[in-house]
Symmetry: C2
């Protein structure tokens, strides 16, 4: 199968490219290295010393004998993307090519606009490219569980049947996004649904939970194949950040009470889910939504787990409750459906102390690279910068 | 009250500016004349010979003795908008400054992206400007009934109480936008709701129906104060277009069966509604949605009404059913709540033959200006331009 991976240089995009290549598919990746640029701009970096894309591709060629084609450019550049899609004529596109950080989107107007531009206009370009050059291609798009927010009812997978005043319809599940990044993902979902309804495209929106983990089967085969691993306040997600904190002796930074509950999954399961989605495509005209996570945890539970695992390995781990820089409920109802990927055959890798310990071991190897000043939260959701003129 | 009107040179924006100025408010308008530019680019024009903004403002000064301040620039220019908001420190912003045409948004990728940029990034800029320079200002934003689409259940005003698996919550009403323009309005709603929830802003989203009518109390006072009136396939809305067609002897262009049902209102009622919203502001942190229309009609009913009124005045009026260029249901359930503005005191101007006849009379005066080639639909929702490479 011809598989095009947008954002193929990223934390998940690169391992996904390796996975599909390892399975014998023809893989091409697109990236404009914006994630690397954003890190440089903020003086942060991946914990793992990742190689440049061409070196990674070369290493994979040596290791596997397979070629990954790479295109350097931005999805928000419509003409560029059009040319790539017309040239590859992909049977599946896996779209990770977005600005993925909630704090980044909340830093300033400029960064909020950049997020909107990259994500929403990028995806809109992609929908036009598929309509015009690959209308039967299956689009597998990374969304986020954060689109739903924390409603007081159970969260379903994308749609909900509503009975209202004696009538009934199945409609898009209402969204309560918690950051401007999450808003951009909600916009994407609306646009994907539209393109499937109006243009007959086929798409699967993977509303992914928070990903943790440092390696996959393929990235572990060779040092030059490792993927990035972020732990800073902007791009680091909570469990990855806690693990780095445990290793370097920095208190685990819990925002507020820590009662915030979310869905989580292992990076290895991200690859399983994307593979399952690609192997079982949506129908023409179908917009399908899968909630892509395996377990729910509160932030406080994760901190306790990392503390316990860390102490078992001899680290001294302290949990620190910081004033919450975000505007979010810290104690709330949360029960999200996630059966559709299980129905397709997902075998979850569950989180436990052993898994955390293996992450701590992997982090230990690179701990000299940690930039400790980038860990504590500086980005406030409501900065109170109300200028009185 | 200091009132800032974005898109103050437009069909609704200009009459709104006059209305608030006539009521004694301090009015400033922002416009970048993109609507005039889009018409020039397409070889179309307003039926009414509208004056340039500075000439209109001068005419209003002569007629009323009141000054309307004008700022020429784009809402999607964040720094410009920031300066204007900081200078005016508005107590209310009425935001019409968007690309308002569904067909325009469906013409090409470039125009879809432009619509997204103008509307979504423009409104995002505005939210930041309000947060930073006028956090207590009440934002009155024009949305559209078209955000809801045509679900099989009753449409409520912005939110719906959902009972699901024994639990209950009031959540944003699910949206099924019918064009990329309508998608952009859905995105705006998500962003407004976010800004109210997270930043404590106050906003009213006016989900407006299809507006008809050619003059308001203030625009009728002097020839130089008239507002624009569009009848072309891109910017002309259905009833206005039918009236022009009746006067020039062009068949009324009904798309498909004509069973499409929507909410409608008179331009005079738009001004009433906006006034009511401004006079009764949302609370701090509140995101309020009003469905702004007075009556529901099907396209077929409107065609019959115009045919009847036109023939009463001696025109020969034919109704033509064209192949529908849009992808939409032509026969569907439609029942949308619209009580909140009535509760605030809206006195509807109902549509009837007499009102249509007065529109036909007004159009008759300008019928020599009609560009007939711009009337029939050329923009297809699903152009089938699937390039086979």
């Amino acid at each position: 199968m011809r598989v095009l991976i947008l954002g193929g240089d990223g934390y998940l995009g690169w391992p996904t490219a390796l996975r599909f290549s390892a399975r014998g598919h023809e893989v091409a990746v697109v990236d404009n290295f914006s994630r690397r640029r954003w890190h440089r701009e903020q003086g942060t970096d991946s914990l793992t010393p990742i190689r440049e894309l061409d070196a990674r591709v070369g290493a994979w060629r040596e290791v596997s004998g397979s070629e990954i084609r790479s295109y350097v450019g931005a999805v928000e550049g419509g003409d560029f993307l059009d040319r790539v899609v017309a040239e590859i004529r992909p049977e599946a596109v896996v779209h990770y090519g977005e600005q993925p950080s909630a704090p980044y989107s909340m830093m300033s107007r400029e960064r909020a606009v950049e997020t909107r531009h990259t994500n929403v206009i990028g995806t809109l370009n992609l929908l036009f490219s598929l309509r015009d050059h690959a209308p039967d291609c299956h689009l597998v798009k990374l969304g986020t569980m954060g689109e739903y927010g924390t409603p007081k009812i159970d969260i379903e997978e994308g749609f909900i049947e509503i009975e209202h005043k004696g009538r009934r319809d199945t409609l898009p599940f209402p969204k309560l996004p918690g950051s401007l990044y999450h808003c951009s993902k909600v916009h994407d979902s609306t646009n994907l649904h539209f393109a499937c309804r109006i243009w007959g495209l086929r798409a699967t929106d993977l509303n992914q939970g928070v990903v943790y983990g440092i390696e996959t089967e393929e990235t572990a085969r060779e040092e030059r194949l490792i993927t990035r691993f972020d732990y800073d306040e902007v791009f680091g997600t909570v469990l990855n950040r806690f693990c780095v904190q445990a290793v370097i002796g920095h208190p685990l930074t819990v925002y507020g009470s820590g009662g915030q509950t979310r869905g989580f999954l292992n990076i290895r399961d991200t690859l399983q889910c994307v593979e399952l989605a690609v192997e079982n495509p949506a129908e023409g005209g179908e917009f399908r939504v899968f909630n892509q996570f395996t377990e729910q945890f509160s932030v406080g539970q994760l901190a306790e787990l990392v503390k316990h695992a860390g102490e078992h390995l001899g680290y001294s781990v302290e949990i620190q409750h910081l004033e919450n820089p975000r505007v979010e409920l810290e104690e709330h109802y949360y029960n999200a459906a996630h059966t559709k990927l299980l129905d397709l055959g997902l075998q979850p890798t569950l989180l436990g102390e052993e898994l955390v310990e293996s992450m701590l071991h992997a982090i230990e190897r690179h701990k000299g690279r940690v930039i400790e000043s980038s860990i504590d939260p500086h980005t406030r959701w409501n900065p109170g910068e109300r200028v009185q003129l």
